[in-house]
Amino acid sequence: MQPIRKSSAVKDALVVLDTQCPFCSVQCKMRVVKEPDATGANRFTYSIEGLPNAASEGRLCVKGRNAHQHAVSRDRILQPLMKKNGQHVPVTWEEALNTIASSFQTITQAHGADALGVYGGGSLTNETAYLLGKFSRVALGTRYVDYNGRFCMSAAASAGNKTFGVDRGLTCRLSDIPLARCIILAGTNIAECQPTLMPYFTKAKENGAIIIVIDPRITATADMADIHLQVKPGTDAALANGLLKVLFEENLLDHSFIANRTSGYEQLKAHMASVLLEEVAELTGLKEAIIRKAALAYGLAETGIIFTARGVEQQTDGHVAVRNFLNMVLATGKIGKVGCGYGAITGQGNGQGGREHGQKSDQLPGYRSIEKEEDRRYVAGVWGIEPDELPRKGVSAYEMMEFVHRQEIRSLFVMGSNPVVSNPNANLVEEALESLELLVVADMFMSETARMAHIILPITAYLENTGTLTNLEGRVLLRESTAAAPGESLHDWAILCQLAEKLGKQHYFKYDSAQDIFDELRLASRGGLADYYGITYERLRREGSVYWPCPSTDEDGNQGMMFEHKFAHPDGKAIFFPVNSKLPQEIPDERYPLIMTNGRVLAHYLTGVQTHKSPSLAARSLENYVEMHSATARKHRIEDGEWVEVTSRRGSFSVRSRITDKIREDTVFVPMHWGGLQNVNKATSPELDPDCKMPGFKTSAVHIAPLRLKSYKSE
């Protein structure tokens, strides 16, 4: 064997890519520099640097620092694959697309277009999300399109729409955080999920803000709190009632704001009379004194911001729980001015943009409604079809899985998502997907869902695919991508165009670039709530980022603060909504004595399809676990680090235990980034919030037992 010698020929093959980290809603700008490594063996080293921008201010977390690894991984799928005799074998694009198109047509002829389902994702660009919605309605003619953002944002989004008349993640700017004197972080673990935002909060604290964290666990975020309300999972709505009760009792209300800017106050006031603080304390597992202390801190502060995230939202009462926190915002008048507001901390990279442009079953681009005639007419006009040709609204993501299970949907087209891991009640979903006549998955990797697919279409990664994304603030950013697509992979939007052509709908899908799609999106969103008309690629290049709504190209853009003078309802007012204190959806009993909640860890994102492929991120979090209090472990005879079977009424999974004192004794926590036998969703509940169809991921009654006590059954 020859020793490897340094090659001199590759010295100046340096590639610089300015891009955005794909791994959360902050969308940190970063620079990836690719250099041939010293061995010269066609290997490269990568160095990553944060780039200055208004949201992340040049910071990156461990995910961003390693976000190039999966994109350049050898595990990328580089050719279309088709399952033949139980094996995925490479086929040409021609064969793959023809097979899909003819299968779509056969199913449509036999069962109607609504037998086709389309399933998108919150990490897709605005362009692709928009096009996926249009593809479903125009190329396929189906009403059944929805996306994983349903699990991410639907509770907060619907609450924002109902209360304010519009849903934009933050009603204020990130730069308002340091100016708030009291900050409530309800069910959000920013330190692990959006670490680069933390300095905004530490700065607020340095400026004297009181920080209140609501979380059943002592997370890294709760470590920073002045007041930690270690609440029972699923009782956030009740807790907000308690807080409101104190605000009312102490008269810490902004009466002139209430009178001039809101409606429904009288009902709330009447409802408050029936709220008893001791009942709230009982329900939430908190002491009255600490609820009072937190309410006073918020009520007395001159300025304040409330943030919610999945802890509050992924509940079967997520919608009303958020609304109850919004009641607090409105009652104290802490909105529409500097250092005040409400924020829903979006989880996915494009969680915000992904929900605005029509990949949701009931929506059309620009946050228009698919059931409003005026909106249907407008969008049909932009698309060049008759309003009657537009399907009506479909069903939410998990409901689609049930439709698949009942074989009402016979073919599913999945793009940028891993539904078999991310849906609740994973066993049913797996069964459902197995029954499909055609499952098409467009992905970069062999995800758990892709493994089940009849046809897998290789798509490009964020380093290769240009597009816009909207960050948690509602700030639109342009991610320009210059890396070459590896193998035969195609841009997701280009696949939709080609498939449309096979279906004879090519004249509705004539785009040469993401920018072409964006220009149509601008038009389609014009005059809608999420109006992007004034945003152009040119402008994004020049200004770095632009907040929506942005109706005009020449206006300097709004500065990001919403509701300074009026809300988005026709009468300009925001709406109070009385919320009843309820027990969580599932109450622990003798058989299932513990409450299981779930969430993220620092090194991973979503179901880990991307982050597990990054050796540096995988190295930091190798396996799933169940976190429990030491007293709980003692009670269930579980030692630290041993295998534990977690069982709910839906199913069970096995993970290692992690014993800590940083969690309630009645609660266990399991991260959500692993599929297969370690998938927490084998045990989560498919019960949906009636208002927004969000599944109640965060509260399931479970039973835990050490695996060593279970005897192996031979099968």
């Binding site: 201010e57 200004e543 930091r620």
Partner: protein, 709 residues
């Protein structure tokens, strides 16, 4: 939209900090032109005293080098003094006639040393301490003369004096007040400081007014107002600073002591802003770095239109940068301004702490001897924290973080966001001479993202500063008394050089004992098999040990499960049986918890689990007992085999001869090992090197076999 023209007068810390902040917010909004009077790019003026004290070089205190300006398309004129500002025409003119128009102008001209009107003050040998040039002059003088005097016993004066001492000069400090640093300290702390500095060799003349500088052609000494005199060849003036405001004043901007600005750093002209030591905000002109940085941020925000709230003034604090002396001061400490809330003097440790209060709130503090609490106290003062907070948290000398900082091992991660280990922080302090957690953050990125590890980073910086280089540097031990070289040195020599045999290695590296001893011969023989497997016949010593240095696998009969331990063991055995190892490796393979094999106490342990095969390394069942650590999880048999071989090969390459797996693992970072073996390409590399070695070693064995027959 066309880019607006932004001109910055002054290339110092305040101006450039502001430019950096602007670029963070709006990298493409402005065409930026910078005029600097000094001929250098922007440097850290605060660290001049470190340069003088020999702790830093001039290069190392440069903040933004030339390429920084180029990369950001900033036009930089150095050595250009702006002499004229035309507010109407929005134009500036330099001494050499360069003109530049602006849409917005930032004045960041800073300040100059105040030169008091003393007779003879302009004689050669009298200088200020403000710039790189002053530093150079002082270094120059120290080569020719012996006696130096510093007029002014404030912060900067003392730092200059310490530098002059380091340069080997006899140094006298003259101060007009009755105690040193009288703006920042009380008499008690100042007295402790004086005693400490006297021990270092400084001499003090307190309550002395300088009347004149003596000497004919150059400075020869100082005459005081009471008639006494003092000899000195070099006299450094450090009695205060004066904001540079002539330009602003002449152009008609409103000035007072400095250029008057509002809360958004705007001057009386809407297109002109001022920042730093030349700006006066709410009647205060600051002379310390933290306020300048805060102002820079606000100004950047106002220019970019993102600033919601104005600048509200800063709480100035001071920290003396003289090695061996720790002094910290913040807020109001003078009598009459505030009351004493707490005063602690520890004569044994030589520490002193005083905290002041006003209206029930913490308003100032002095620390002498140990400044570890400085940041905390600064926070309390900034916030105007109620005095009760002091009682609530009696600060111990050693915080939790401090004791963890000592006990945690070097490869442990401190900053999870940026993957910074303890040793890289220590290295930054030791090697690069950094002093504060901020500097370490800027250099290593530790605590730059979420900031949660900030207290830990601070504690490690404190820890590193407490010890000198020697006591923290890793020990480099020679292999044995036959050589001065360590294992690592010999390995890298053997890896890079081309040797024909082991004797040549010993000869080239100058082995003291030409034939070696059993210790080094065995080590060399092993390294030979590692780097020259094709020539392994030479490794006669290795043959003696070969059997004991093989992989031995323990595989109990499997329980019924999906895991075939026998097959995996067979494959591993085939791949590894001829691989030489630094030390015997015992492996165990179990099909799962119902078929225990002791996987956690073997060098390599593999166990079936609900997640797939788990691969552990570094267990040890003898003294000292060690628990194996999880390196990876494999969903398939083939991946399990790959991981195990990759770990073994990595151990072969990285361990020292004789080093057990657990010891190697403790020395290396577990995250790094995981990253390497989980990385497909690196794993393939390791596998192919293991395979190549096994092939050579196998054929060698077979050859031997045939010969012996």
């Amino acid at each position: 939209m066309k880019r607006e023209k932004l001109v910055v007068i002054g290339n110092g810390m305040a101006g450039m900090k502001c430019v950096e902040e602007i670029l963070k917010l709006e990298p493409h909004r402005f065409h930026i032109t910078v005029f600097g009077r000094e001929p250098h790019p922007n440097y850290n003026r605060i660290l001049l005293s470190k340069v003088l004290q020999g702790d830093s070089t001039i290069d190392s205190i440069v903040i933004n080098d030339w390429s920084w300006y180029e990369e950001r398309e900033i036009k930089l004129y150095t050595g250009e003094t702006v002499v004229h500002l035309d507010i109407q025409a929005r134009q500036v003119t330099t001494l050499s006639g360069i003109r530049a128009n602006y849409d917005f102008l930032i004045i960041a001209t800073g300040s100059s040393a105040f030169i008091p009107p003393i007779a003879g003050i302009h004689k050669p040998g009298v200088i200020a301490f403000r710039s790189m040039e002053d530093c150079a002059t002082m270094i120059d003088y120290s080569k020719k003369y012996k006696k130096a005097a510093v007029i002014g016993g404030g912060l900067l004066g003392l730092e200059a004096a310490r530098g002059l001492l380091n340069l080997g000069m006899q140094t006298e400090v003259i101060h007009n007040a009755s105690y040193l640093m009288n703006r920042q300290l009380d008499a008690m702390a100042a007295d402790m400081l004086r005693r400490e500095l006297e021990q270092q060799g400084m001499r003090f003349w307190l309550s002395k007014e300088t009347e004149s500088i003596t000497g004919l052609n150059r400075a020869k000494g100082i005459r005081f107002s009471n008639g006494t005199t003092l000899e000195a060849d070099l006299i450094v003036i450090s009695v205060g600073i004066r904001p540079n405001i002539t330009l602003a004043k002449e152009s008609g901007l409103t000035t007072n002591r400095a250029i008057v600005v509002d809360d958004f750093m705007r001057t009386s002209d809407p297109h002109i802003y001022a920042v730093g030591e030349c700006a006066e905000h709410r009647g205060v002109a600051y002379g310390l770095v933290a306020p300048l940085y805060e102002q820079g941020k606000v100004l950047a925000g106002s220019l970019c239109g993102t600033q919601a709230a104005g600048y509200e003034g800063s709480v100035p604090y001071a920290q003396l940068k003289v090695s061996g002396v720790e002094v910290f001061s913040v807020g109001s400490i003078q009598q009459g301004e505030a009351d004493t809330a707490l005063q602690v003097y520890d004569g044994i440790q030589g520490t002193y702490k005083k905290i002041t209060m006003k209206d029930g709130k913490v308003s100032g503090a002095i620390l002498f001897g140990s400044t570890a609490e400085g940041t905390t106290l600064l926070g309390l003062v900034k916030r105007g924290a109620p005095i009760a907070e002091l009682a609530a948290k009696p600060k111990e000398d050693q915080s939790d973080e401090d004791s963890i900082a000592v006990s945690m091992s070097g490869h442990e991660t401190v900053c999870a966001c940026n993957a910074v280990t303890k040793s890289s922080i220590i290295c930054a302090v030791m090697e690069d001479g950094l002093q504060t957690a901020e500097q370490v953050r800027d250099r290593t990125k530790a605590s730059s993202s979420c900031g949660g590890c900030r207290p830990m980073v601070e504690a490690i910086v404190r820890y590193a500063l407490r010890y000198d280089k020697e006591s923290l540097a890793p020990e480099v031990a020679a292999i044995c008394s036959c050589t001065a070289y360590s294992h690592d040195m010999v390995k890298s020599a053997m890896k890079s050089g081309v040797f024909m045999n082991i004797q040549e290695v010993m000869a080239t590296l100058g082995w003291l004992n030409p034939s070696g001893c059993p210790t080094c011969s065995d080590a060399l023989a092993y390294y030979w098999t590692l780097y020259y497997p094709q020539l392994t016949k030479e490794a006669s010593a290795q043959d003696r040990n070969r059997d004991s240095r093989n992989l031995i696998l323990h595989v109990p009969s499997p329980a019924i499960s999906g895991f075939n331990t026998t097959l995996l063991a067979k494959h591993l055995h085939q791949a590894c049986q001829y691989l030489t190892l630094p030390s015997p490796v015992k492996g165990a393979i179990s099909s799962g918890i119902h078929s225990p094999a002791g996987v956690l106490v073997h060098d390599i342990g593999i166990a079936g689990s609900p997640a797939g095969w788990e691969i552990y390394a570094g267990g040890h069942a003898e003294h000292p007992v060690k628990q194996g650590q999880l390196i990876g999880i494999a969903e398939s048999d083939s991946l399990a085999k790959e991981l195990a071989i990759a770990i073994l090969q990595l151990y072969r390459e990285q361990a020292e001869y004789g080093e057990r797996v657990w010891k190697w693992l403790e020395r290396t970072s577990i995250d790094e090992i995981r990253e390497l073996v989980l990385h497909v390409e690196h794993r393939m590399d390791l596998m192919s090197r293991a395979e190549a070695a096994a092939t050579y070693l196998t054929s060698e064995r077979l050859g031997e076999h045939i010969c012996s027959q």
